[in-house]
């Protein structure tokens, strides 16, 4: 491989986990088994049966290993996918048929297995039912696994030396297997910043970048690759000069991160004593240790729908209670805001309803209010877990005062239910509303009178306000956090919250954007709930300025008429104050 003769290539992706890595690439290609038809002689039939049985036995061993590992690293419920696959391996009807056909048709087991499985697969994949469709994927996975074992391909989970894993995609199972090795970084062609791989990478503090189209075809094994997880940049065939630059950058960031670690136990307070709450957004229980390590003041958003991952139905009140209690206990005396199930739209468990416009459809609080039994289960579970007095409830996708009142009524009912059973709970449990629907922002003062706090969900708010689907690649650059309309809306929401004497926080991505910190501070935001990786950075910014200055910045920004002007102004400001800051190019 002639490295020096190849052109240095810079590819851009979505940063999924921060850090810089320089090292050899390991191309991970999920093995696609090829199936050819062969004739089997009569005397070879028994050995062919043996082949299949051996392959099945090996597959079973692999699945048990993965299931075990998953149970420890992931939620036990998420590990259930692997349990279903193990059962499929034991389907006597399927294998009896394969053996019968083998004796009768005398064709190789690869062909027969695939043929038989294809029949079931077709039935399942075309089902109206989501559960059946998911099992179709499991069926395919099991088929691939057996075929791979028939070819006697080894499961590549052991790699020598430290590498940067490059792949089209890395599933949760793969990431778990790889994490045992010395992985320097992950780079994938597809995937999102909130995929399991990304979460695991962040938890393990390994740089990762997703959405780097075509990288697998451009890179070759063992060639040196540079991964910049801060900016989402991958450099192939780097020149020696480039390598030196990045080595320096890496050392610099390591140093910087160490100074940030020193901030962990210090409060998020401005130079002139203005205090804000700096919390973390959490999805999985696995993240709790990390957020404590990052010095979060609490959990500003716990995405409870993570309990629904890989499940066919809503978990019971008892199951939920245990999960909420674990979190409350772990984070105590710090506070947790649990958002009620926010499903539908682009999220999980969209049920079997086909909506032509799911983002504007049946989602969030709408589903909960339409399914009061499910909502009551969750409310009771949260109430029961509130005995440490550190929980609050947050309602997503509220668009009217009526919805708030209905939710409050149900909360009252849940409390009554528990009272009659003599079950203890925190009667002073606080209730908050997510401001993400523009209508809610406009009547935020009315809403503020009915609740204890507001939390601004900028991800959806901006989407609705600017009429831009943030998941749509074609228009995604129109999704602008610094659009003057957005800034005005934020100002109004905060003002109305202050009028109603309630705390106003923000849990959307904008809260974790260092470029927005001073502005948000100046607008009067009380709580920033951010992705834990950026927490120290945001804290540093807050601790480095005066609140009076931040207010001044906000006033100036409110006068500006274009996002370009606003961004340029903020970038200049940040450059002057924090030359060593990691301001990504947004």
């Amino acid at each position: 491989m002639e490295q020096s003769s190849k052109q240095e290539m810079k590819l851009k992706g979505i940063p999924a986990s921060p850090g810089i890595a320089i090292g050899p690439a390991y191309l991970y290609r999920k093995h696609e088994p090829t199936v050819q038809v062969r004739n089997i002689e009569a005397e070879k039939v028994n050995s062919e049966i043996q082949r299949l049985q051996n392959a099945v036995a090996r597959s079973k061993k692999e699945l048990i290993k993965i299931y075990d590992f998953a149970q420890h690293r992931l939620d036990g419920e998420q590990a259930r996918i692997f349990e279903a696959q193990t059962l499929i391996l034991e389907d006597s009807v399927l294998f009896d048929m394969v053996y019968a056909r083998l004796r009768h048709e005398r064709k190789n087991v690869e062909y027969l297995l695939r043929d038989e499985m294809e029949k079931y697969h077709r039935l399942m994949a075309n089902s109206h039912d989501e559960y059946a469709r998911e099992r179709a994927d499991d069926l395919k996975d099991v088929e691939d696994r057996i075929l791979r074992n028939l070819e006697e391909q080894k499961l590549t989970s052991k790699i020598d030396g430290s590498h940067i894993i490059v792949s089209h995609n890395i599933s949760a199972a793969d990431a778990l297997m790889f994490s045992r090795n010395d992985v320097l970084a992950y780079v994938t062609e597809i995937g999102g910043a909130t995929s399991h791989m990304a979460l695991l990478a962040r938890a393990l503090k390994i740089p990762a970048i997703v959405g780097v189209h075509q990288i697998a075809s451009f890179s070759a094994p063992d060639e040196t690759v540079i991964v910049d997880g801060y900016d989402g940049v991958v450099i192939l065939h780097p020149q020696p000069a480039t390598i030196k630059t990045f080595e320096k950058k890496k050392a610099h960031h390591v140093e910087f991160e160490e100074t940030l670690a020193a901030l962990r136990d210090l409060p998020a307070e401005t130079l002139d004593g203005h205090h804000v709450k700096l919390s973390a957004n959490v999805e999985l229980e696995e993240e709790l240790e990390f957020i404590k390590f990052q010095g979060a003041d609490g959990i500003g958003l716990y995405r409870s729908e993570s309990l629904l991952l890989g499940k066919e139905v809503f978990p019971s009140e008892e199951e939920q209670y245990k999960a909420y209690r674990r979190i409350a206990k772990s984070i105590h005396p710090k506070h947790v805001i649990i958002r009620s199930f926010d499903i539908g739209g682009d999220k999980l468990m969209a049920q079997s309803i086909k909506e032509s416009n799911p983002v504007l459809g049946w989602r969030g609080i709408r589903i909960m209010l339409d399914k009061p039994q499910v909502f009551l289960d969750q409310l009771r579970a949260i109430l029961r877990a509130s005995t440490f007095k550190n929980l609050s409830i947050l309602l997503p996708m509220i668009s009217s005062l009526k919805e708030v009142q209905m939710a409050k009524q149900l909360l009252g009912q849940a409390k009554e239910d528990l009272r009659t059973k003599n079950i203890a709970f925190d009667d002073k449990l606080q209730l908050g509303v997510m401001i993400e629907v523009p209508a809610a922002a406009v009547i935020a003062d009315h809403i503020a009178r009915e609740v204890d706090f507001l939390s601004i969900g900028t991800n959806d708010l901006i989407q609705y306000l600017l009429a831009v689907d943030r998941g749509n690649d074609v228009v995604s650059d129109r999704f602008q956090e610094f659009h003057p309309a957005v800034i005005r809306f934020l100002r109004r929401i905060i003002e109305r919250g202050q009028q109603g004497k309630v705390m106003v926080g923000m849990c959307g991505q904008m809260a974790g954007d260092p470029l927005a910190t001073i502005l948000l501070l100046g607008l009067g935001l009380d709580e920033f709930s951010v992705v834990p990786t950026v927490l120290p950075e945001i804290k540093k910014i807050i601790r480095s300025i005066h609140y009076t200055e931040a207010k001044h910045v906000a006033e100036r920004v409110l006068e500006m008429q274009s996002e370009d002007e606003i961004k340029a102004y903020l970038k200049r400001l940040m450059k002057n104050k924090f030359s060593e800051m990691l301001i990504g190019g947004k």
Binding site: R80, E83, A84, L87, I88, E90, D91, S92, V93, L94, Y120, L123, M124, S127, D129, Y131, A132, R135, L139, E312, V313, S316
Partner: protein, 89 residues
């Protein structure tokens, strides 16, 4: 040949765990066992087949038993369905 009509009682319907229970019970008997739902018939001794059914709460299924121990078999299987597979209703 015995036919029994059953209704799915448990909230979650026939997902992985109940499917496993059905197949495990069926393996104990010699008779043939088929389940019919909405004009689709699957072999009740195959877990993949049962998973394909994806029967939800309230669905009606027709269980068919044929063989030497069909009486015992149908009783035991009907009971399993009636009990909601031991899951929350």
């Amino acid at each position: 040949m015995i036919e029994r009509e059953v209704t799915i009682r448990n909230r979650a319907g026939v997902h992985t765990r109940p499917a496993a229970s059905i197949v495990k019970l069926a393996a104990k008997y010699k008779s043939e066992f088929y389940i019919e739902k909405d004009e689709v018939e699957i072999n009740g001794k195959s877990i993949i087949g049962v998973m394909t059914l994806a029967a939800e709460q309230g669905a009606t299924l027709l269980l068919k038993f044929d063989g030497p121990d069909e009486q015992e078999f149908s009783n035991a299987m009907s009971e399993l369905f009636e009990s909601g597979f031991g899951e929350p209703i």
